[in-house]
């Protein structure tokens, strides 16, 4: 592995790829720092630019966006009190009060340092656990992979927003979308006599349509009030380096604990930066000698939040690379990039594309260093950029989405696919259907059908899914996750009812 890592480092260290990582990190920070734009949107916008690149360059650019995006949320969180991305919600709890007390530079500096250390620790986790899980999953056969995909989808459906039935519905809809067009036996399905549907839907326009339109139109409805906060914000920030070194020296345990929580949560399907954020903030408060100071501008809170959400980046690569199952939305898109470049993530990737795996490790490390330098040197500019109003951002992003969808195959039909799935995504969002399971369904649909029928061709008995221990375990976990989510929903409903009775 060391040889491959050195070869990958040589490729990633070339001036052109380094330049791409810098661009990726800069764009990621900008994307993360604009309220409502999110890491996922930044990744979607940059994705089309990788079409013409070789795999190492494309993946390095995307990893740069990843690393930058997870750290970018701190800028608007501290300056405006609005999390730039959902994974930096708890950063606001202490970052904004610290800025209000006249120390925005200290809050930003602590956040950047914690982000950097969180990324480094998560890379160590990825390097250690990725190959281990991949070698273990080499024993997986179609039954196990089918059951694992079903488990991942039910987990994501249950965790995404608490609406279990709608989450499962979204996952099944995502899978159904992948059945349009020619199948594995060259039979045509659901073309409705429209020739363009014969080749099915490209993943990219579907993903962009569903996510970007719902997000941007949702921002139009939600963020108008929040942007009023941007008026009169002082973006003249200076970083007090000596103070931050002292702060970080007193946060060693908190940094390691929060980074490990972030890596672990990132590695679980269905979770992500937001969940990691809350868990590590809660743990930091429980372990603190001054829990009463949390929420009032204490460094511990910023460290816990930023170390954990940045550590998610490395952790989330573990199931994506090792099992071919993306844990969250940004990773689903990352998987789309790999597939687009002819690489299938999964256990064999470590054997068949070790240099690319090494390039991902190296890009994460280099990206983290570039992120610190960019954040510390350009923080005033990022603070200014975070004030860009949604009214300007939305048309520009929609235009870039259209160009990206077209550039995939030089096909105008893909822009219509983008539009139609944009309408569908927006309506589903209005109906409070979680969109993450839908997008994961679209990404995993082909593989699920292929593995299911491979299993049935090898053994036509459906009971084989229950008689093979690992497959049975994954299916049992899937059922358990559904039951647990339903129980939670029931509990929430009972609490609402009780609250209503108490009010009456």
């Amino acid at each position: 592995m060391a040889d491959f890592f050195l070869q990958a480092l040589a490729q990633v260290g070339s001036p052109s790829v380094l330049g791409l990582i810098v661009i990726g990190v800069l764009f990621g920070i900008i994307g993360g720092s604009i309220p409502g734009f999110t890491v996922t949107m930044a990744i979607l916008v940059v994705f089309p630019f990788t079409f013409a690149m070789d795999p190492v360059s494309g993946v390095s650019l995307m990893v740069g966006v990843f690393v930058g995006g997870y750290s970018g949320g701190i800028v608007s969180g501290v300056m405006l009190g609005i999390p730039g991305t959902p994974s930096s919600i708890t950063t606001v709890y202490d970052g904004y009060p610290m800025a209000q007390k006249g120390e925005p530079g200290r809050a930003l500096g602590i956040g950047v340092a914690a982000s950097f250390l969180g990324t480094l620790i998560s890379v160590a986790v990825l390097v250690f656990f990725g190959p281990l899980i991949a070698s273990f999953s080499m024993n997986f056969r179609p039954w196990e992979i089918t059951a694992l995909i079903v488990f991942a989808l039910t987990l994501v459906a249950g965790l995404s927003s608490g609406a279990m039935l709608k989450g499962l519905l979204a996952a099944a809809l995502g899978l159904l979308i992948t059945t349009v067009g020619y199948d594995r036996n060259s039979n045509l399905r659901f073309d409705f006599s429209v020739p363009a549907l014969g080749s099915g839907f490209e993943i990219l326009p579907v993903m962009i349509g569903i996510f970007a339109f719902s997000q941007l139109m949702g921002n139009l409805e939600k963020l108008r009030d929040e942007q009023d906060k941007a008026k009169g914000v002082d973006t003249n920030v200076a970083i007090p380096y000596a103070t931050i070194l002292r702060d970080m020296a007193s946060q060693k345990l908190n940094t390691v604990r929060s980074s490990l929580i972030g890596s672990l949560v990132g590695a679980l399907p269905g979770t992500g930066g937001t969940v990691a954020n809350f868990i590590s903030y809660d743990q930091a408060k429980k372990f603190s000698r001054h829990p009463e100071r949390f929420g009032k501008g204490i460094p511990d809170g910023i460290v816990a939040s930023e170390a954990s959400n940045s550590a998610v980046a490395g952790g989330a690569f573990v199931p994506t690379l090792a099992l071919g199952i993306p844990g969250d939305l940004p990773m689903a898109i990352m998987m789309g990039v790999l597939i687009l470049h002819g690489i299938t993530p999964g256990p064999l990737m470590f054997e068949q594309n070790p240099i690319l795996v090494g390039a991902i490790y190296a890009s994460l490390l280099i990206g983290a260093v570039i992120m610190v330098l960019c954040q510390l040197l350009l923080v005033r500019w990022f603070a200014k950029i975070s004030l860009i109003p949604q009214e300007i951002l939305i048309p520009v992003v929609l235009m870039l989405c259209a160009v990206g969808a077209y550039a995939l195959n030089n096909n105008l039909f893909d822009i219509w696919v983008l539009f139609i799935f944009g309408v569908v995504g927006y309506l589903l969002w209005k109906a409070e259907v979680p969109l993450t399971p839908l997008i994961l369904g679209v990404v995993l649909g082909d593989n699920l059908e292929r593995q299911l029928f491979r299993a049935l061709e090898l053994d036509s008995n459906w009971m084989a899914f229950l008689t093979r221990p690992l497959s049975a375990l994954f299916l049992a976990l899937a059922v358990a996750s559904v039951i647990f989510s339903l129980y939670q929903n029931h509990k929430i409903q009972r609490t609402h009812l009780k609250a209503r009775r108490d009010d009456a």
């Binding site: 630019f49 079409f51 013409a52 039935l165 709608k166 499962l168 519905l169 099944a172 809809l173 899978l175 159904l176 059945t179 199948d183 594995r184 036996n185 039979n187 045509l188 399905r189 659901f190 409705f192 139109m217 139009l220 409805e221 949604q390 009214e391 300007i392 939305i394 048309p395 520009v396 929609l398 235009m399 870039l400 259209a402 160009v403 077209y406 550039a407 030089n410 105008l412 822009i415 219509w416 539009f419 944009g422 309408v423 927006y426 589903l428 209005k430 109906a431 409070e432 259907v433 059908e449 299911l452 029928f453 049935l456 061709e457 036509s460 409903q493 609402h496 009812l497 209503r500």
Partner: protein, 156 residues
């Protein structure tokens, strides 16, 4: 009288989609002796799952003791008026997609950016027009140049 809540509307639309897709699945080539599990099996499994889940959502919304989280009682006209910005933006995007093959990327993109920025920013001051035209006239050619000369991708 029953009101049409979000959940009920979702469930009903899904059940209609399932019905249409199920009928269309009848056009898929049937199984052969060497393909005992035909191409319609997987989508039909999914259609059954979607149908069951939609029915459950509908049933739950009918039995729910909680008031709907939506704000019912808005007429279609009021709904359109309330969502006019979002609906206009969708319409502008559809027009953009339709115009791209007719007038080419630069003209269609300029038109889309100018119109959508005017819609969202407003048109009541010279400053807003300056921002609008500055962004549109810079971005449209810049993106074209990046794709055409930097990435070797031809835009229409």
């Amino acid at each position: 009288m029953l009101t049409l809540t979000k959940d009920r509307a979702l469930a009903l639309v899904m059940l209609i989609v399932v019905g249409i897709m199920w009928m269309e699945s009848g056009n898929i080539r049937p199984p052969t002796s060497w393909q005992p599990y035909g191409s319609a099996l997987f989508p039909r499994i999914l259609l059954v799952v979607i149908g069951l889940l939609s029915a459950l959502i509908l049933l739950r919304s009918l039995l729910s003791k909680l008031p709907s989280r939506t704000a019912p009682g808005r007429s279609f006209g009021e709904w359109v008026a309330y969502n006019r910005t979002v609906l206009s933006l969708f319409a502008l995007f559809a027009a953009y997609a339709a115009l791209l093959p007719l007038v080419g990327y630069i003209v269609a993109t300029l038109g889309f950016l100018v119109a959508s920025l005017a819609l969202l920013l407003g048109i009541d001051s010279w400053r807003k027009w300056a921002i609008n035209l500055g962004i549109s006239l810079t971005l449209a050619p810049l993106v074209y140049a990046i794709f055409r000369f930097g990435l070797n991708v031809w835009l229409p």
